[in-house]
Symmetry: C2
Subunit: 305 residues, 2 copies
């Protein structure tokens, strides 16, 4: 097996979700899964994560069919996979968590296959900042480092999160997290404040309102969201955004302004596919021609062509 373009670490789980569109039980989920499936349309991702031996073999097969490197998925014998249950009945932008069973994820110790350490990009999906720091230590020093996070870690482990931000090249967060972490109500000031950690870029996701990216020396770019009339399941939309974004950078092999602008579009596009069905199901049946058509359509929406 070859060196992946992106080494990605995060949660792998089975999600039970209720939305206005219906309910589904024990679907493929987890931050690194949504990320990798989305990124797999542009590049080769190596997943680092942990599951129990109850994890469906057919889902591993699905990841492999998508060209995803699964050598870094550790299976704990006799262990039970992470499970999350939640609903979005009142607001499609905010999940109500019904239950979280950490199971094998509670003692997750990310282990990188040797070739993963040579990947040119590292994506740290939403997991405990101490685990993110551990993985940074395991990776070769040359990888371009991108991290995501969540409100829980901002509240509970702010110091560890600061340590992560100091060691990465790019942070991807949502608008609420950017405001919460920086204490800035104005999103533009919040995004700029993030750069003080020495980041190249800070990406702020705004759900149905699109996304923005802040860079050094006043660089700024923004995209609207691709218009979605029927959001079936928003779970994983942010991870799919990150997958489209980082997948684009990895495909281009660049992180300059032009690449970041293009990546922002891909993030928006892949997020829009994600929410159109439960779990990663829209991606399971996504055809290359449909993807190409949406990229073209999205560029038209933005007035680029």
């Amino acid at each position: 097996m070859s060196v992946p373009k992106i080494t990605a670490v995060g949660s792998i789980g089975l999600d039970t979700v209720t939305t206005p569109a219906g309910s589904r039980e024990e679907m493929l989920g987890g931050s690194v899964i949504h990320f990798a499936v989305s990124a797999s349309f542009q590049t080769r991702v190596g997943i680092v994560g942990v599951v129990g031996d109850d994890f469906p073999a057919k889902e591993i097969a699905f990841l492999e069919r998508r060209g995803i490197d699964v050598r870094g998925i550790e299976t704990i014998r006799g262990g039970r996979t992470f499970r999350w249950a939640g609903s979005y009945m009142n607001d499609l932008n905010a999940a109500d968590t019904h239950s979280t069973e950490l199971n094998v994820f509670a003692r997750f110790e990310p282990k990188l296959p040797a070739e993963y350490a040579r990947a040119p990009f590292l994506f740290l999906a939403n997991i405990h900042p101490q685990l993110q720091l551990h993985v940074i230590g395991e990776m070769g020093g040359k990888a371009y480092r991108i991290c995501d996070t969540m409100n829980l870690w901002i509240r509970e482990t702010r110091d560890a999160l600061r340590a992560v931000f100091k060691k990465v090249d790019m942070v991807i967060m949502n608008d609420g997290e950017a405001r919460m972490f920086t204490g800035e109500g104005n999103l533009i000031r919040a995004g700029k404040a993030m750069l003080s950690f020495g980041l190249d870029y800070c990406v702020v996701k705004k759900g149905e309102h699109g996304a923005m990216v802040f860079g050094r020396k006043g660089f700024f770019a923004a995209v609207p969201a691709y218009p979605v009339e029927r959001v079936v399941d928003p779970t994983g939309a942010g991870d799919s955004f990150a997958g489209g974004f980082a997948g684009c950078l990895a495909r281009l092999g660049r992180t300059d302004h032009a690449a970041v602008r293009q990546a922002l579009r891909w993030g928006s596009i892949m997020g829009s596919f994600n929410v159109a069905d439960f779990s990663c199901d829209r991606f399971r049946r996504l055809k290359d021609a449909q993807l190409r058509a949406r990229v073209k359509e999205f560029d038209a929406v933005c007035g680029v062509r």
Copy 2:
């Protein structure tokens, strides 16, 4: 005097506003003022409105210096100008109204100077839908008709508003109004639903999140907001957006997709200048070179150049 490119009708008032940036009393305000001042950077607007003889002559002189046709501003002898007082202490997106004195505006009967009726564009700023209908009747049948509205008319005079929508070519509204009028929570469906009135386009403004436009046969375009770090006074931002938007169409003399995409950018840009100071004050000192620089910068933000 010549025929204006846009005949615009709406309120003219003196605003007393408190925002986190401070308080100002009896500043130049009103929907058609914000619209016309913004549009004046691209085209010639003829204002239709009413003031009392307390209205400052220096403000009429300011409008004239901006090349705005003021022949349609009626002055009522012994009358007192419309006044509004409000604040934005908790949320810069929503004004708390402290007082509204309609004064001469209560008996406003829009009268169009003869040459105004031959303008190629008509902009109906936020006023009572019955007045909007009256002005449509006064105008030549060939003007391209654009209207704005507000939540008050959606609640109180929905039938009259429907009659307006059936007679105009384009509606500009904000996200809350689009949801409220159509009863659609999803903004994409709300925007599309508006087209059923026979509109060419419906523009939905989203404040700090930019704006979208829906057109026949699935046409869709969207822009982010120009990033503003310090919002001083949001009063008139929507009217300034409309002024940039309609001003661009009038300058181009076209309403095709390419013109509408360009107009959307101008709306976003002019809205961003408006909020940077109280009243129209940012526009009073706006230099052409600053405007050109922001247009270029905004196109870069959108990835257009």
